[in-house]
Symmetry: D3
Subunit: 252 residues, 6 copies
């Protein structure tokens, strides 16, 4: 069982949302030999590339897009994940029915057991809400036979939403905390591949450490952590226990 | 790691609350060699023994208490759990400071990694709320050195609240579902040790099957299940995945 | 069935909380021949008698209590309800176990089908919270045989909580709106029996009209209404529709 | 008043959602001479017809649709309800503005007093959410004169949302429980008209009994029940009471 | 700082939603020399003009639109605000991506510091929800450089949602109460410019007084008030205090 | 108005809860000449003094209490606040009626306009909940004339609850963020007065910086911040905008 390879899909609204919010978790999966694929819906070319627009007057949207795509590619590579691009328009990112069917088909083909994506409500950035809703819709479509009868449907996928930039405004309360202490160096390296949003390295470095210091009351020695909220409850074979400051996840 | 013995404490307000709500989970722990201890705070002598009061006019509270204690003992034995009694008064069950300190001391001595108890809000039965609050208070007291300096404090305990009789009124939404299909026969046998509340066998038999049929969309082959809600988030080493209709809980 | 007499119990924290919040509903029950009993836990002698304390320097708590008791009596009489007094201390009103048992016993003896009382959370007045919790606890005690074996237990009582003074702060959202247009004159007359809180006549007159004007979108001709929130769901024989004579749902 | 004929509209996302979730309530209305009309938005041809897709390789979407339409027709007939079909595409079911206007016009023509439909949030099936939102939007459009000036607008309609497949994940808490014991045989017969989803007969049979056993604490003799949540509060002439284990719904 | 001119944008779904819900606050801004601009998305020609449709059979949608536009213009003028019209269709009001981009561009050009608009959830009127969502989406687009690189982006805008017609159904709980006592005459005058909805003058007059009487417990002398709910938390230099029945908003 | 002296009361469950959670805000008040008084209900002698109990075997509760009292005194002094001690027992801290009356009397005498205290729900530490409830109860008692007729009652006090140690578990969502950048040095110095909990300096230093980095999206230049949640809504004379000198809302 230890040897089984997990398939993890990350759906990210903008260029490198996946790095700040889930870079450590992605790195951990990759490091342990699991398959991680990122779908980058947009490059955040309009709305998350302030330094380019401000510092290089006259820059075109295409140029911004190219720069961000390279950053996203390098960050994904550092984390050990495959990445593909939908090249959609951000700010405002909307999903037509055909876009959701495309996503459903890609999910079906990749056949993930786990999906990481944005949370449901973000009053600061509608693109994030829209990605969440598209993923939820697509997961159901990928899970039933009759939509793409020629391709085997997925199983029920476990969905984890990542912590938004302003969790309080988004009413985001994590119910699952992932210890990323041992791969934090990788996350840091990935964050450094994104000079367009260089200030985020400090912000999200501090946040990852803050999550770690919240968790240290419960898990001895943790330094860095990332928080997620499940969309669905857990089905377990037994209630789990942590002992002696260590986390022990085991089945009966 | 497989061999490590867990210590599970169940705090039950009335005689056999623990059987209806968590009997399968308790049986599963016991079957796998873990130590389960039940603290039965009252025998439900006044408020959960209707058939005795109705069918045996003139019965005394002491007689009712004795009958219920025997039922509780037999049920615990069938499940494979140790049981101890606080012999407090039910309807209304209230906790003075000394009662909470007693509970804290017992928790400290037993040193559990997991606690199962009532949920936080039950507008139909204040005894249940009061047990929840007492357990929450006691867990903290058991966890700090200075309250009983001579006894080593517990670690941080994972708390699971069990499903109340009327979950909707209690705003109870389970976030963890335990598959008890393989020990359901034991739960059924334990329920049958309680003739005073004989009608509950059908009610809770149906409920355990209902929880199972809700879960079958997510876990192939499940027949019986019990639902719990965590008080605290989970700390994990990795996000977990279920594959092919099976639940796979593993660490990286 | 039309002829069946209902038994309605109102538990009011202070002198005339019952008038402002539920006076119209009480009057309507009484007018239709049902039995309404008010338990007045305190006279609001310390905390809801500002004009007496301010305008009559040196007045004693006993004098205030007497004046308020007379007001409460007159108001209850106008509404057509019986009233009894617990003469407990307000600000802070606390319930010992014996106080809750007393309330349970009185509930058992009165044998109500409906209870009206304060809502669960009032960050402006802890006395209100405490009455709510005491009523919830007492209702269960009154409902089980073994607490007072010599007196038949009540059935399951339908509980309605009345609108608090500051509903928004109390997170109070009514789910049941009672049309009191035809008895508003009685409510007004009852409110006028309370010179100690004379300013409330305008405040609660306006509120009762405001609730009416919210409801007029749904029921033609309604002028005055009172709002309540249920603690338990409704059990019905069919989903109700209000068309024609009784309940008129139509646009303006 | 007994003789007044109610008009009940049921809007169902897929083939026979209406049977599992509200079949007993529909049967009860029909049995009592009320007019029930079902609008079946899709036949669940892609997403709720797994056995057809799995057991009959190469089956076309048209064939699946035909089979499901016949099942839906037979089930509606057994329940005593009229049914009409929108023949829209499921998985993903989306509503364009023209689709909502069509629904509004049909609502206006049918002129219901009660509407039963899906609940607001279903993270497992976006089609359900989308139907809920379309119904809410259409009800307002049907209620104002200026949208279809030639047809009289509806009154304010009472909306009840039915229990979703996974109520906990949908944060669905019923506030109205309908006793369907006396028509359960009809519901069972209707469920048996749907061989494509034969496994649901056991699942929803158990659920209907489970809802009944939850309610039995409040209504003597209830065996089967269905749960609903209102979107709007109730306007009543008086607070209702249950007595002696019986539910008594009466006006003053 | 007193002299600084604020820029306030009001986005109103229908003709004069802005008058009933925020007329006093708008008048207060205008009176103090701040710039208030109203964007009227529709004229409520179909859904909020019942008296015209009912009393003038055969009236055309264009005629209704014209009448309502004049009312809206006169009301805005009385309040002291600029108004512009989008002339979109109401009931159902939907926003295509281009509509949201238009709104974003207008926000960018007006460069507000404060936005007043509808709240997030209105199960009685989907047009209101849709305006809320469009405004939230547009504010982000207006705030980032790359969407309209030639126009300076706005800062972070403080958003206040106004009280809906049926606040309880909309789960609306105000967190900010504005004292409009000194400009209530202006609001009343503005309301009188709208004969099509003449009955609203009494309804919203009473509501504004009701909000005032709720607030009087906290602010001496207040008579009329309007309630708002923030979408985002406040950033402050110090916690604020009210003293002696007066509200004192000051920095350290 | 600038010159008016505010009176700020801080009620802290344990020794220096006030330092970690609100030290910057306290320092800011004090620096600006306002009167800040801390009531320290316990010294956290049992439950928040782990290092003393662990490193000095055999230490008595009295010795621990003395050490913690000195730390609290020094920290208060650094912040510029007065401090008084109730010397109650922690873990479990409970409030009898007489304790609440004592607190009410002290509030009445101090006559605060602002109170800072613990939030309402803390499943990790019941002492915190109990302090919150005691403060809420006491504030009402302090606000009515008849409880202590000889002392003038307080006005309505604005209550702010401070961020708990584990905000997510406590469902704490701040609605008010205080910029403490300019007094962070003072907070740091105060934190250093508490060698018993030396590890907290890093934890809460990081948290204060984390709150600052969340806020920087909304206020330029902010470095350190503390979060609070109001219990009551705000009453304001106008909706506030923060532009220019005082509050700068702009994108990065």
């Amino acid at each position: 069982m230890e040897a089984e390879k997990k398939r993890v899909l990350v759906v990210s609204a903008h260029a490198v949302d996946f790095v700040w919010r889930a870079g450590g978790t992605i790195a951990q999966y990759a490091k342990n030999g699991h398959a991680v694929k990122i779908i980058d819906v947009t490059l955040g070319q309009r709305g998350e590339s302030e330094s380019l627009w401000k510092n290089r007057p006259g820059i075109s949207e295409e140029e911004v897009t190219d720069i961000r795509k390279q950053e996203a590619r390098r960050a994904a590579e550092v984390l050990g994940a495959e990445i593909s691009f939908y090249d959609m328009e951000d700010h405002l990112l909307t999903f037509e029915k055909t876009d959701i069917m495309r996503l459903a088909l890609d999910i079906r083909k990749f056949h993930p057991g786990i999906v990481l994506t944005h949370s449901r409500y973000d009053p600061l950035n509608t693109d994030h809400d829209n990605v969440h809703k598209a993923v939820i819709a697509a997961l159901r479509i990928a899970n039933v036979t009759g939509t793409f009868p020629e391709i085997p449907p997925t199983g029920q996928v476990q969905i984890f939403t990542f912590e938004p930039d302003q969790p309080d405004m988004c009413k985001f309360i994590p119910d699952t905390i992932i210890d990323v202490s041992d791969v934090y160096g990788v996350k840091l390296e990935a964050m450094k591949q994104v000079p367009t949003q260089a200030f985020m390295v400090e912000t999200y470095g501090r946040r990852t450490a803050h999550r770690g210091s919240l968790a240290i009351r419960f898990k001895k020695g943790i330094q860095y952590a990332e928080g997620f909220a499940r969309v669905r409850p857990m089905w377990e074979s037994s209630l789990t226990e942590r002992r002696g400051g260590e986390m022990i996840l085991q089945s009966l």
